[in-house]
Amino acid sequence: MSQFAINLLFVGASFALYIGIAIWARAGSTSEFYAAGRGVHPVTNGMATAADWMSAASFISMAGLIAFTGYDNSSFLMGWTGGYVLLALLLAPYLRKFGKFTVSEFIGDRFYSPTARIVAVVCLIVASTTYVIGQMTGVGVAFGRFLEVSNTAGLLIGACVVFAYAVFGGMKGVTYTQVAQYCVLITAYTIPAVFISLQLTGTPIPALGLFGDHVASGEPLLAKLDAVVTELGFKEYTAHHADTLNMVLFTLSLMIGTAGLPHVIMRFFTVPKVSDARWSAGWTLVFIALLYLTAPAVGAMARLNISELMWPNGGISGEAVTTEQIANDPEYDWMATWQKTGLLDWEDKNGDGKIQFYNDKNEDLQAMAAEKGWEGNELTKFNRDILVLANPEIANLPSWVIGLVAAGGLAAALSTAAGLLLAISSAVSHDLIKGAINPSISEKNELLSARIAMGVAIAVATWLGLNPPGFAAQTVALAFGLAAASIFPALMMGIFSTKINNTGAVAGMLAGLTVTLVYIFLHKGWLFIPGTNSFTDADPLLGTIKSTSFGAIGAAVNFAVAYIVAGMTKETPAEIKALVESVRVPRGAGAAQDH
């Protein structure tokens, strides 16, 4: 069977499964549409939340980010998991007790302010929309790569599948599809990693292999990797090179941002009880950790494999791989495959028939190059995003593994897209239409408007995926910045302080939002228009703090402004204090289920 047929089989089978679930899990009420009828088992919800959270970025990009930077990018590992501690301890159980359907609804009720609710809705829609663009482009690219259809056709097929299960099933359909998608994506991620770990370290568990011994040399894997990359003139893999202050703030921003992302928080509304929300956050992290403990091993092992493939004759002191070998040796077939995509390229600059891969910006290596007649690094392009997708081919794994990885990448992108679209549609139908425009709307009409909002959101996301704005890559920082600087502090203060009143909360949210947006725009351009930035992340405005690390500072500004303003304005009314008291104790969560 050809590789194309195998890919088609795996992707087709997984899509048939998602559609089957869509038919089985149709939503009949607003409670089912927004919160899956609050009947989801905590372990099931944990699995669905893990798929919801782990996007194309976690599945495709993260291992590559770590592989090419090493220790310095540990921020992603700690930041994207540490946020769940904040979510489990500070937000999830109390928001479940509150027992409503959207994050903005809590903010509106707790701060007895329609303005606060609208600010939260705007943040939610902007954060979720920017996030969904990346998922939709990911779907298009994955289709284009593995199924040899155009990006456009791929994106439209993906959009139709999401439409089928999200519009009809709402949260209920999305939850059970996400469980299936989690199973597909974790299998697809783990199987190649296990094979590669066995090849390199002899242990089937990649996380142990990372700290184990390299079979071929007998040295510890990380020591071997450090030696190999420094020999090629790159920075030591395990050493700390990044600016410490920026690394701390970046990690903290990712943590707070994760805990403040509405599409993740709203998943905890689906479990039956407050205690279930606590357990469910733990299960979510278990399922996320299965991938996040494997990712650094995948990164390190791939980096070692690539370095050794380029220098197959005893490292840089031996001869480099020849262009003839790349063309004829089946071990190098993946290079030709990926060259076609434009994400990988090489050029024999000095015409010696060999491809020398080294860091040509390193002075020692420049001296060596002058001596040996090299004219610069000849592996001219290696996009770090291809690492996970090309990994099975690099390690010479059977072709069914490649088909599985294709289905896994699509599962990761589709599950996150569906979660985001659900967050957007419930904000529109529940917060804007029922909350502000037409409060007397019947349940049947609210359900209809939620479905129409979902359909429109999918159409807009598809259009943005087909015509991604030039700033698509920058917007992840925006989504995390908004969640960290506006949503997380408002929710936390709403639960842990009775002092914060309506004016304080609104002032805090607007202040956090404004400083964060201004700082991002100063570095990335106003509304991301190229050339309008006054600073760059290489030389930021405040010391070493990059715009991607500013969310934590935005959150601090939000807290400070809210406390100061609340101290100067009218005290929180007694009935709101009673609301806070009731949110803090689990008893009575069942009674608070419906409006």
């Binding site: 540990s74 489990a88 301890l89 700390h240 357990w279 842990f496 803090r584």
Partner: protein, 86 residues
């Protein structure tokens, strides 16, 4: 709902568990994983040092333990203060 003094004691106990958990949360990630890494450089773990292990693996495992411990302790506390869900 039970009386207010019991609810106050419940909330104080909850905040105490949260604070202890967050100190550990910060210690393993920002502490051992980043700021205190030089101090731990002497302890080697599989080809690197303890700080590298915490940054890439250890902190995630501790986060897991923290969340499950919190859920377990809070369930006990809910029952002790009579605020558990019937």
């Amino acid at each position: 709902m039970s009386d207010n003094s019991s609810n106050d004691a419940y909330w104080k106990a909850n905040v105490r568990i949260i604070l202890i958990s967050l100190v550990i949360w910060a210690l393993v990630s920002f502490g051992f994983g980043i700021l205190l890494r030089p101090m731990l450089a002497g302890i080697s773990v599989g080809g690197s040092d303890l700080g590298f292990w915490f940054a890439q693996q250890g902190s995630i495992l501790v986060f897991l333990a923290l969340i499950f411990n919190y859920a377990w302790q809070m369930n006990k506390l809910d029952i002790a203060h009579g605020v558990d869900e019937e």
